[in-house]
Amino acid sequence: MSSHPLLNVRNLRTHFLLPEGVVKAVDNVSFQVEEAEIMGLVGESGCGKSVTALSILGLIQSPPGRIVSGEILFQGNDLRKMAPDQLRRIRGDRISMIFQEPMTSLNPVYSIGDQIIEVYTEHCGLSRKEARERAKEMLEKVQIPSPAKRIDEYPHQLSGGMRQRAMIAMALACKPAVILADEPTTALDVTIQAQILELMVELQQSTGTSIILITHNLGAVAEYARHVVVMYSGKIVEEAPVIPLFESPLHPYTTGLLNSIPQLGCKSAGGKKRLEEIPGMVPSLDDLPGGCYFHPRCLRGREICRKEEPELLEIHPGHQVACWAVREGW
């Protein structure tokens, strides 16, 4: 069993069939998540990172969405081949999710306690009384002050940070093997962001869970992830362990992203520099350019980039990139 990676996504394609045409939100994406690791999945809005997460959980709304092909192997078993009730048992138990906006993803008419209790009664077969005890312990673990009182409060009575803590408590309730965290801190203030990320990492280390950290915040990924996947317009453009990805990125998109963010303290270090920008904008998914999707914005693009799509190629061990310029060495 241990020869399998914990989660192995192979050639996943999730398409949306819309009146305007087929939108290839996720197009041939493969990656692996090992046990007890944090993987970063980065990209800008519309690059398919959230759809990837929803596909793993079987939460793609159909129609219009459909997983066209691919395998999602969790501990060696294909989630796509499972019966709905089998998948239900895994979802929320072995694999759980933390969403971006805790206000819209928590049910406003149930107290947060009820929502955590449900996880226990549903998945662990606990009685309500036992589940309530466990829920209280969980709230304490995510450092919600006076959990005995908070357990009966409703989502609107909590602040954004507290709601996100409640979400984390719910996601961790059954000690899942993998947590998909989709922009878990984006809606929060900077100081609260730091609190939540530290909390997630602390709990990750003590429980040995794996986390897929889906975000556009490169700083958070650099600090917490062990390996990183970069997506652009539904495809993986680069994948590498965290240090090479940030120290020697290969894909022009990754380099562009890293150079376009203002870095704290750079001004005092070397005078004011102009930010490097990536020209143009992310192409619309229903009107993708031919060849490499990034070529209209790429400064290193050549003839071939317009015609043929580059495949992911392993350049160094564990470091893959899909780019003609890197492959051909120009």
């Binding site: 900077v190 730091a194 004011k272």
Partner: protein, 329 residues
Amino acid sequence: MGEPLNSAGEHLLEIRKLKKYFPIKKGVFRRNAGWVQAVDGVSLHIGKGETLGLVGESGCGKSTIGRCILRLLEPTEGDIFFEGKNISTLDPAGMKRFRRKVQAIFQDPYSSLNPRMSVGHIVREPLLVQGLHSGAKREERVEDLFRKVGLRPEYMPRYPHEFSGGQRQRIGIARSLALQPDLIVCDEPVSALDVSIQAQVINLLDDLKQEFGLSYLFIAHDLSVVEHVSDRIAVMYLGKIVEVAKDTELYSHPLHPYTRALLSAIPIPKPQQKKKRTILRGEVPSPINPPAGCRFHPRCSEAMEVCSREEPVLKAVSDHHQVSCFLYP
């Protein structure tokens, strides 16, 4: 009208002891049940051609200051002087002039453009309202503005929904430039944009500043963006300024414990440079009943006995650095 003269004539904008309280209405008779102290005694100034960054977490009052400067809100107390004149006592002609000189760029490029107007008309409207230029000259000016912000003039007949977030923000910028203002209040101008588009808009704002000698009040919660664009930075916490310093000074020598925590909270995209982090306990308290003494003391790791009793005042520690904390007497 017996206007007090601005003592420091070189400041384009000066805010003195600004307070803005919002009433909390309760019950059938909408009786006043208390006050939200959104801004509580803030003094700031912006020089000509200067960018002042204003940072703080949500609810700290930074946008309220911006709105008071734009006179979208009337201050509860305190005065705002623009070019030496108190903006709350301007006569109608003066007010019209003031509106031309001070413009705004808002956070959400989706809700700040009228969906029923073509983008050409959105940019043209300020010129119509102020009666500047006419006929062909006006059209030329609008086209020129489009080019300035990196959009093609052919786009003018289109409507806002046909544009991406970054392009909409450019349209908002073109509108704010139409009247050749001196000061632009930018309220979170890039926080709704994607990373690769943020850089484009920041660079555009920078170029326009150089070209037209603009001053900006740059309100944002992202310290790294603020550090990049600003000449001076003011840090706000619960309606008060806790520290003001030159951009590089604030980063290299942050003094206030809140500023230090804020700086350390930002993850940096350098995996090998693990930094030690001061995690702030708790959350920002409500501005309805802010803590007594220093408003930061319940979360401060260096709080002393005096902090809960007395309120610190903003004091200069050097030429370009002021801080409001008892650690620096």
